[in-house]
Symmetry: C2
Subunit: 154 residues, 2 copies
DNA sequence: TACAATCATTATGGTTGTACAACCAATTGA
DNA sequence: TCAATTGGTTGTACAACCATAATGATTGTA
């Protein structure tokens, strides 16, 4: 994959629209409205644990699948899941068809915590909500299509 | 919030446009196109160090300011800056008007590394570049305005 | 001059994240 | 049946991160 044409690495702003959009999105998500700290404080969990919990809350899955989703290795996944289980937020059960696999599922308490995290993370910044209807609709149409296009199955 | 049973913890999409846009942006930036690993491999620096280096490359600043920008404390900032200095990527100089302060500035080599990081982080994903011109222009207009509105001074 | 306040560093300790090797249990298939 | 494979755990080691307290140097000020 050949990237974009020659780009001036020294200039401060990207010269093309795609670059501006990308950098803008990263600025908003990573700098202006990063809620990691809030979430770890509200849940008492480290951020990977929150990600793991949310993933499990979205539907049962195996250790292997969870490790892939967190893009980490299996041993560390075991560590994280051990902790979540110790706290009573998830449960391990043996996969009925393959006794090697552990299926992970949230407990009611785990679901509660996951929803707290969701409330914080997915809460759109005011400035987005205050956008003119037409602008918001435009963003919605294009961005939703982008997400969908990359992962049609999900 | 309707609380319908279909509203399943972390899985489904928010019902309003702002929520969909926000979650979509987060998905693209944090899940689909996270380049932390690439950057740390390409630069040989941990990610906070990359952030610190980029911040210094954007213009000289003091330890206190850098700590605030990285939203961390001063002692840890000292640690990070020590490492960058040891690698010859930045230089500490005493502030001419206030000898307590250290002003941080990149070296030529530091600038080179910062540009490598920038090339990776700010390179927009293909799917964004391949967007129809009108869609891209719409995103550009709205998102650039958003970023600008939040930080008019910068 | 004495005092408090500010900027940065040193020292220390703990948690979290990441990687790798070795291992056990269950499954698959020659 | 037995070797290879897969899913997961244990053990170990280290790097990265983050906080708190104490210290030194400099500045501004009563």
């Amino acid at each position: 994959m050949t990237g974009s044409p020659a780009r001036d690495a020294a200039s401060d702003a990207p010269s093309d629209a795609a670059g501006r959009v990308w950098t803008g999105m990263r600025t908003l998500v990573l700098e202006r409205h990063d809620r990691r700290r809030q979430v770890t404080e509200a849940t008492g969990l480290s951020f990977v644990r929150v990600k793991a919990l949310r993933r499990i809350a979205a539907g049962p899955l195996s250790m292997r699948e969870l490790a892939a989703r967190l893009s980490t290795d299996k041993p560390y996944t075991t560590l994280v899941v051990d902790d979540l289980e110790r706290r009573g937020l998830i449960e391990r059960t043996i996969h009925p068809a393959d006794r090697r696999q552990r299926m992970l599922a949230v407990t009611p308490e785990g679901l509660r915590i996951a929803q707290i995290a969701r409330g914080i993370l997915d809460d759109p910044p005011e400035i987005l909500r205050d956008l003119p209807r037409a602008d918001l609709a435009a963003l919605d149409r294009v961005i939703t299509a982008l997400v969908e296009a990359e992962h049609p199955a999900e």
